[in-house]
Each structure stands twice: as structure tokens, then as C-alpha cells.
Subunit: 458 residues, 2 copies
Amino acid sequence: VTVASPGLVSDLAAVVGASHVLDDPDLKAAYETDWTRRFSGAARVVVRPADTAQVAGVLRVCHAARVPIVPQGGNTGLVGGSVPRDGEVVLSLARLSELEPVDELAGELTAGAGVTLAALQAHAAERGFAFGVDLAARDSATIGGMVATNAGGIHVLRYGSMRAQVVGIEAVLADGRVVRRLPGLVKDNTGYDLPALLAGSEGTLGVVTRVRLRLVPSLPARVVAVLAVHDTAAALTVFARLRARVASLEAAEVFYAEGLELVVAHTGATRPFATAHPAYLLVECAAHADPTDDLVAALEDADVVDAAVATDRGGREQLWRLREAHTEAINAAGVPHKLDVTVPLSRLAELERRVREVVAEADARARVVLFGHLGDGNLHVNVLDVPAEDDTVDVAVLRLVADLGGSISAEHGIGTAKAAFLHLTRDDADIAVMTAIKHALDPHTLLNPGVLLASRHP
Amino acid sequence: VTVASPGLVSDLAAVVGASHVLDDPDLKAAYETDWTRRFSGAARVVVRPADTAQVAGVLRVCHAARVPIVPQGGNTGLVGGSVPRDGEVVLSLARLSELEPVDELAGELTAGAGVTLAALQAHAAERGFAFGVDLAARDSATIGGMVATNAGGIHVLRYGSMRAQVVGIEAVLADGRVVRRLPGLVKDNTGYDLPALLAGSEGTLGVVTRVRLRLVPSLPARVVAVLAVHDTAAALTVFARLRARVASLEAAEVFYAEGLELVVAHTGATRPFATAHPAYLLVECAAHADPTDDLVAALEDADVVDAAVATDRGGREQLWRLREAHTEAINAAGVPHKLDVTVPLSRLAELERRVREVVAEADARARVVLFGHLGDGNLHVNVLDVPAEDDTVDVAVLRLVADLGGSISAEHGIGTAKAAFLHLTRDDADIAVMTAIKHALDPHTLLNPGVLLASRHP
């Protein structure tokens, strides 16, 4: 059991109040394990500041004592980046949950790091706006964590990932200094883009406390189609055609025969087609007026075997459910190895084919279930029926992805889970640059040690 | 006259060939003054490498000799960032003009730093794509310089600025090491976003040699409208309504009565309306099918006094000319002080009013002509009839902008021209972070010294 020194606890209590410094093991426990339950560790103490000034105070105390910090938002990450490893102070941003009024003229708002995605979405919707990023963990995931990890989701092809939504940021540096760029300027060429640098830095350069976010118009008219296709190459050709012709295209997801079977077995969902097909492309279009005619016209003569189309909410949700239930259906079938990778679109069909081969070579027992965000070149590779502790399959898949010019982390980040693999796609010069930036901003390695650059960084 | 040491010249000649090391004053001259003619200085020597390997070689030679470098693209910048100040080596990227084939599946291409915007646009158009950034200097401005300065232009509200187009980058560091992220991945959460950091860094962190850029669909159906409105506040209300209702909105520009009079007098253009109005909002919509009905419907009951609408190319160009001829009409009327600023949209009407007041207070002779990118909160402030060397008016405008929470450089960058004003909108912590990053990547201050952080950086 890690115990905090009395001096540290009292110094932190002087900043945030004694009731927000948790050193009771029972109270700390909820902060020491993430929702995957794969990652956990002992926190020296958990601190729950109320605002930016208190975050700065906490960091000044920890900096003076040279005590490392793990920032934590909704704890919904998938790569072990938000739980302690070795007696760090866990800095929970949950209480920074202030949502400022929507700036309707700018189409922007400012949110505290602890605001959940769902709360942000509801707040924007009250004023006729939507938010450009959506993902399944919306009720728990917080804006600060989503910015720090540059979260992705299902609308990246239309609106970009979290970094593209950030028009301003406030963050506390390792020594407690505050950097603040919050006015919400669309254009601002006065120096390095610190918001873009902090986005995706996984808490290693600064602690995000507030963000200014762009909103997007609410689009009420929607159509969802599941298109049966021969293979990944056909899905890509259809996607490229829609991207060129249908401006309202908002999502382009892919899944395969084996995944659909798992979903049908697990959820009892109705199959969209009478017969099975090798691959399925799910597309959604959203506009002010019904986009169905545009979609149908663009699909004329396309290489599509069959199509299921829905415009009403119930029908759309049924089709989406076929894709979204993959995670739970896979989890119900076993404990999967999960890899989240992208390759250039020109290599995606090859990835889909070869990932099955390399997994089979690595472990003949393994079952592969693939699905993902086709438009982003992003496959979630799930491997069932291999031992949890054996990473042979993981290494084989990541090496394949690197060979294909891809990324070993599409949208989940590196965290502690993939730090040892960073060199697969980042060469020495690249890692040296990132390490130099890390040293420049956090010379004592106090911010989220072990995450991202751990394997090269002392 | 600055003279290069024989050793440096021969070392550089060994890298790029003797014919691409220019030390003849007549040959150097074209590289020593930019197109504004406001900024010029002596180059020790001008070097014209052919490719990334030669750029790296040049930087290794200069690094070993501790000789500073000024990277130069099309030399179309407006803030003195691309010409020598004090005997630096000018590194011209003009010969890095390779355009790789369009990747039609990804909707991306890779371009050398020396490719002009016009060449890129033509290359993309051959394959049915467009590029998300457009600006008047397209025939000279190069992609490397546009990325290094995060160029903006007239389509930012739809597609973002240059940084938003960059899906990969190759750059040479001060010591000659090469950082390369070019596969063109839409999602890639493996470490700090170096492409976003290098974009807008104005050549102070690395020399951009190649970029991977996203393309956008070509949209053939267009409508342009000039809307006469009562004032800036009305223009903003109309803009916000169109942004919420018309997904095809691509540009929203503003100009005023005095600017239109200058344009009419200078170009002989026909006035769009029988009578003069205080302010004009120019909007363009672009889609696959004619967007005119959408635009007209959204304007119903809007606070618009009169409207001129064109869908044919000639008519659209005539309307655009009213806005685009502002620069030449102003230049014909005198030598303007030009300031490129943004404020939050909620402060733009106030800026428009108060900028006239503070300029009048600073210099009663001054004439103010305003125009700009309304949707981005971006006004180009032009002040005529004040002496060229007197910066009283400039300082007054920049202070006003800072008071309104704005940016002293919307899209032109800081360069050498505004380095002394950076502290107006960036506080000590912010500048310290930027300086720490600069030191981390360029410890000997060899890359574009005097630009951006000059006033605080040794």
C-alpha cells in the first residue's frame, strides 16, 4: 500500500480542502482502476480540485515535492493512460464541470475539463447546435480527457477528431503555470499552436482544465444504409464515390460476415438481408432536407449487392445497432485482444486480408473479428480465443500495420499499453523531437510518467 | 555587402552543386526583397537544394558552422518572415516542386514545398478534386510557405486554414535530421501532432520539405450574393443564420461603403445597387446541385436591405471582384498601413466601430478602409493618409484588438513585423512555453532568427 507523506496531504488539503484529498484505500479504489479493468495501480493520494486555480495549486505542491501526477477524467480510456502505475498522485478533473452558455453567434462554447460528452451534447442541442465528435462512452467520457487523447468516433470523416473541434484551450503546466487561449478565434496565427500540441498529448505536457470548442449545425434529416458488398475493396470504391458526390455523408463504417453473425446471435437482431455477404458498409447522411434521394442517386450503378435503407429514427437505430453491438457481442464471446489501427485507404483491403493471415500464423486457435471506421482507414482488430497474457498476436498485427505504413493507434492513443511499440511507426528523429518537447515542458517528468514516451524517456 | 566565407560556399556547393549556391549580388537580389518591398536584407548566400536530402545537407553544413538560415518559398508573405535580416543563408525551396499523383481513394496528395498553390489546384482538378485553401497569391505562393505560415484565405469557414489540410509532413530540423510523417493517415494518435506544430511555426522549428494534403470534392454548382445590410451587426446575424441553415456556405466576406466607392472609382465596376449602403455581406454557396434555392429560402425575412445574386460564372466573378479589388484600389489611393486582425465574432461589430475611433484619435488625417472574412471574425484594417514610418496608428489598432480579446495576426503570421507586439495577446507563460519549444528544437537559434519570438528570444 502506497502511503502519502503527511506533509504532502496537508499541503494538498490547503489547496483543495481536506475532503477532496482522498487517502482512504476504499475511497481511492474507484480512481485506481479504469473501466477496461485491465489497468490499475496504487495512487499515493487522489486530489479533486474544484477549478483551474486549485489545479495550479495542486501542481505547484507536487512540483515542489517532485511528486508525479496522473490526470484523470472519465477514466474511459483503453490504453492505461489515466490510472496510477506506481504511487502517483491522481488528479481528478471531475469537478471542473462548468458549462458556459453557448455563444450562438460564434457557434462555440467553453467547457470545463470534467464536463461529460453527453452533458455537452445536451447543452448544445438546447440552442440548436450539435457537437462534431460522438462516441459510445458519452455518458462517462469527459471533455478534458477527450481532448488530451484526441478522441475520434463515428463522425471523423465529416468533422475531424477532437483536435479539430478545439478553438482554444486552458492548461496547467507541470510547475503550476497556466497557459490560456480561450477567446475562440477561428484564425489566430500568433505563434505555435499550443491547443493542437496539447490535444493528443495524453496528459504528458500539461493538464487541460478548460476548452473552447466549435459546434456544428444540428442536422435533422437523416438516412442510414447498410450496403452488402463483395469485399473491402468494393466497400472502399463505394465510399470514395459517395465522398465525391454526397456532401451530407457523415459516417462510413464497415463490418464483416463473422461479426454480423456474432451480433445476431448475441442481440437477437434481425439480419438485414436474407443471405450472408462477405462485407457490409454502413453509411449515414445528414442534412437540413432529406438526403435519401442524393444517396440513392449516387449509389446507382455502384458495386453494391444489396441495400437496407432507413430514414425513420427506429429503422436507423436498428441498422446502427448491427455495427455498434459488435463490441458487446465480441466481449460476450470471450476476452478479446483489441487493436485499434489505421492504414492508408489504399492499403486497407490488404490489411483486412493479411491481418487474418498473420493472426492465423501467430496462433492457429485465434478467431478474428474486424469492424471499424472505413472512411478513416481505421479497423478495430479483435482477436478471440487466445490467452489474455500472450501478446504474440498483438505484436504480429502491429508489425503488419507498420509494414503497411499505418498507425498502431488510430484513436485510442499510446498510454502505457503501447508505449513499448511506439518505435514501430516513429523513427529515432521523430521520437527525439517528441522527447525534447516533453523535456522542455516537463523537465522533471512529473506529468503522467510511463505514458506515451515511457520506453525512451527516463 | 555581406560576404560568405569561402569554406561555407564550397561546403554548400558540395551539397547542392556550385550553380545552386548564389553569391553574386545580382543573382541574390531577387531573394533579398519580398513582394511587399517593405522587407529586405542582405543574404550571405542563397542556396537552392533540389530535394529533401540536399536540404538536410545544407542544414548540416550551416549547423556545423553555426550559420543562421532563412527558409524561403514563394516570398509572398506580408510580415517579413522570408527575407534575410542580417547576412543569413537564404534557403530557397523553389526546386522542391515535385507533385505526386493524386491518391484518388484517399482524396490526398503529396507535394514538395516548392509547388505553387496554382499548380496544386490544377493537378487536383485533373482528378476531380479541389483544394480547401485558396488565396490571391496562388501563382507564386508555395505549399511549404503556406504550411509554415498556416495560410488562410476565403474558404476557411468551410474547410479550415492550411493546418487543417495537412495530413502529413516532412521537415528538416536545425541540425539536419529529417522528421517524416507522410503516409496520409486520417487518424493517428501516436504521439504529439508534429505536423500541426510545424504548421504556422514560420520556419522557426524546422524546414518543411514535403506535405501530404487532403483534397476536397470539386463542387460545380455555385451561387454568389452580395447583400446590402445596415451594419456589421446585421451582417453577423445574417451570417449566423446562413451557417445554421445552408450547409453549402463556403465564403462570407464583408466590405463597407467607403471601400466600394474606392473599388468603383479604381476599376470602373458597376455598383451592385442603385443606392449606397453602410455594409455589404458577400456570400458564396457551392454544392453538387444548384444551391440558389437553399440560399434564397434561408434569406427569407432576414435583415437584408437589398440583394444582388449571380449563378453564372461571369456574374459571380463580377460580384467577387467588388470584394477582391479592394487591395488594389486601396494601394492605388496611397500607401496603406495594413493590419490583419481577428476578434471573437461577438466583438466584431464593436471592433468595426471602435477601430475608426481609435484611428481618428491617433491621427486625424487618417482614412480607414475595412474589409475581410466576416465568418472568421477577420478584418483587414487599411489606414491611408498617414506617414509610412509612423506606427502610432498601428499600435492603437493592435491594442484595441488585444482589448477585445482578439489576435494581432489572423492569417499573415508574426514574422519580423509583429514580433515586438506578440506580448499584446500572449502572456509570459505562453511565450515561455513557445520559447522552450523553440530552444528544444533549435538550441542555437539557427532557423529564421528574428521571426516570431525575436523580442523575447536571444
